[in-house]
């Protein structure tokens, strides 16, 4: 048990980033990250799922018998995702149509059951909520950066279709970086997702190495 909040935050956002370090949840990450708005939509839905599932698992942890914990986690996560899906279907219909099958697929994002098992089932409610938030934001951050990279290279725009998420006022948020004709098609095709993610992980690792070179090395244990 630990309740060092800043450590939870830095683990989720950086040191144990679910997408860039743990490499969990790659299926939705790679499939949806073709624009910033799609990435942000899925990122927020995943974050909300993580927070709610961590909250429920943590508050119910004394009722969860160790031998049946996995089916119960699955049950809780599936329920949370179904509820989020219904809510998006009702109030974010356009975005729902685009993210389509990836919302139910949040259930299969191993990051969520991973956090339930590793963190929420062993910690109090507040740290668990924070852990869900931090892990979700870290995942969203990786998604949005990858989405931005692919959207700029592949379509020559940024923040296209922002109105799906932010309403009609966001219709003119779209930035045309360069002409569509000179875009690199590869970036929005599936290989572009893999290449982009590879570059992102490499970038993170090289930043990490550079930071370590300037600081004395301290042994770290991550959960």
């Amino acid at each position: 048990m630990y309740s060092d909040y800043s450590k939870i935050l830095s683990n989720g956002l950086w040191h144990n980033n679910q997408a860039l370090v743990a490499l969990l949840g790659l299926c939705p990450l790679l499939a949806v990250s073709n624009t910033v708005i799609n990435s942000l939509g899925l990122g927020l839905a995943t974050t909300l799922t993580l927070i709610l599932s961590n909250l429920l698992v943590s508050s119910l942890r004394q009722f969860i018998l160790p031998e049946i914990r996995l089916p119960l986690f699955v049950l809780i996560i599936a329920g949370v995702v179904t509820i989020i899906e219904l809510i998006m279907h009702a109030w974010f219909y356009e975005l729902y149509k685009i993210l389509g099958i990836f919302i139910p697929l949040i259930v299969t994002n191993c990051a969520i059951i991973g956090r339930a098992e590793v963190f929420a089932s062993k910690n109090r409610i507040m740290p668990s909520i924070l852990d869900g938030l931090a892990m979700g934001l870290g995942f969203s951050f990786a998604l949005v950066v990858l989405g931005g990279f692919r959207e700029v290279l592949g379509s020559g725009t940024l923040l296209a279709q922002a109105d799906l998420l932010f309403g009609n006022t966001a219709k003119n948020w779209k930035i045309n970086v360069f002409d569509d004709d000179s875009s690199i098609l590869l970036a929005i095709l599936p290989p572009g997702a893999f290449i982009g993610l590879g570059l992102l992980i490499a970038l993170k690792n090289s930043l990490e190495l550079r930071l370590q070179a300037t600081k004395p090395v301290t042994p770290k244990v991550y959960e």
């Binding site: 049946i68 119960l72 809780i76 509820i83 219904l86 009702a90 109030w91 592949g154 095709l189």
Partner: protein, 196 residues
Amino acid sequence: MIISPPIHAALRIGLFSFIIVGLVSLVYHGTKDKIADNERRALLQSLQSVIDKRRYNNDLVHDKIQLQSGGQAYTIYRARQAGKPVAAIITSTTTQGYNGAIDLLIAINVNGTINAVRVLNHRETPGLGDAIELKKSNWILSFNQLSLKNSDQWAVKRDGGNFDQFTGATITPRAIINEVKNTALFFQQHQQEIFQ
């Protein structure tokens, strides 16, 4: 009373299931009207993309029938002005494209001419086959006002017809042209049935 551990575990799973199903159904009941309304609105919007809303005055979304023909199931929305048939809007699917199914919405006037065609869903290659979307190019508008009388024009230019093909993607336009043509033929043969 002593309950053996496996039964205790089963009961607990049952209890959890019960609570979670209860929560989900609460949210379902809270959102279902809104969702149905969204679906209806989205359907009406896509139907109005192929027919001008001044040309009919019936409840388009609910005036529909389903017909089977040649292994293809068609859903048909019937546009009427003061009870008289104006056009049929037919949903149709082709799998002859480059990647998976292409869903089409085809509006055919009572005189057999194509009013308009739109692609509802597709997974053709971005940048090559996706010129079938109206937001990418005007290609799909070349169907407007076409009729089966000049059916030799119903092909891409490479096959001797009237339609532009896309650079590097002939399969996609060819699939759509064939499907629209088949749907127009279906309309011709079943017009009586459709407007019953």
